[in-house]
Point group: C2
Chain length 182, copies 2
Amino acid sequence: MSLRHAALGLLADGPASGYDLLKIFDRSLAFIWPATQSQLYGELNRLADDGLIEVSSEGPRGRKDYTITEQGRAELERWITDVEPDRIRRNEALLRVFFLGTVGPEHAKAYLEREATVHENLEALLQTVERDTDWDTSDFDRYGHLVLESGRRYAHGQAQWAHWAATQVDNLETNETPAPTR
Amino acid sequence: MSLRHAALGLLADGPASGYDLLKIFDRSLAFIWPATQSQLYGELNRLADDGLIEVSSEGPRGRKDYTITEQGRAELERWITDVEPDRIRRNEALLRVFFLGTVGPEHAKAYLEREATVHENLEALLQTVERDTDWDTSDFDRYGHLVLESGRRYAHGQAQWAHWAATQVDNLETNETPAPTR
DNA sequence: CATGTCATGTAATCCGTTACATGATTAC
DNA sequence: GTAATCATGTAACGGATTACATGACATG
């Protein structure tokens, strides 16, 4: 139930509509926790039903501004400090690596070099975002900045790993017991 | 549909039953692509219905050994080389970081140090697995070894990041425009 | 007045998790 | 004979994705 708490967390920074939250999602949380429009609107209704947020004003075009309640703040803190995070890290790109033996060394190396490029591009993108953003406007942005740095390091590390892994392929395929050099 | 291809990939290494695959999952793919028993058995039936695998022998206790078909091998290769991997990387622990401003600097630092510890433990665990495993028995294991190294580097990097992030908290909270030192 | 943006909602489908159910065979 | 392990399956539920639907308001 993380989307629930993501929405709650955004509303802890101030009132907003579903539409507002969606835009914030797309340029921040989406990297770490994507959410679709349907999903968000549904969750906001459920949060309101449960008293964790409430409609604080209604605007034109059916707009509803939500405000977090005391109960909502308590639930958010509980979630952050008392609930052990789920450590599941599904990764389709790494899953494929297990099976690279079935496509032959050339395809395998090409796959790994492509992974390197993808992550180099990601690192470059994150660096651009880092430069072009004012990180000092809210707690949300200040802490978001730390998350971005985590992503940058991850992208950098994965790119390096992929280059290294590509150099290992020939060792693996010739079946000389590898003792791989890190 | 990654579980589908994960099962296909395991069967590319040789025939096995759902029960066998489940055990292999638990000590290899589960880190990157967890799957439950129900899910696997269901998927194997669907793969057989679609002609990508077939029951090659039936043993005691209703055991069914599956073998990958030519069609299945073709589909596996197509998936690895032609299908762009999904890049979604949901991470509940990092999601919480966005909201650390709501719990105060002490809780925030404690949270980040705990993340550091968790990842240090993970790195240690992966190092143990690395030492205690014979990686040279199949292509699956040889390439799995590369995946493990990716995980080890990730755990190491996240731990370092978390320590660094913890040192940044005071800067952020005193609202001195940070210019954080990497 | 037409197009774009704002704004919310519903329905179908798929994937994943949890729990339950059942029975055969092996080892002590 | 009874407990552990082998072995497969079903059902209920919840979360996520995609597609569809609808309409108000603003801009040129």
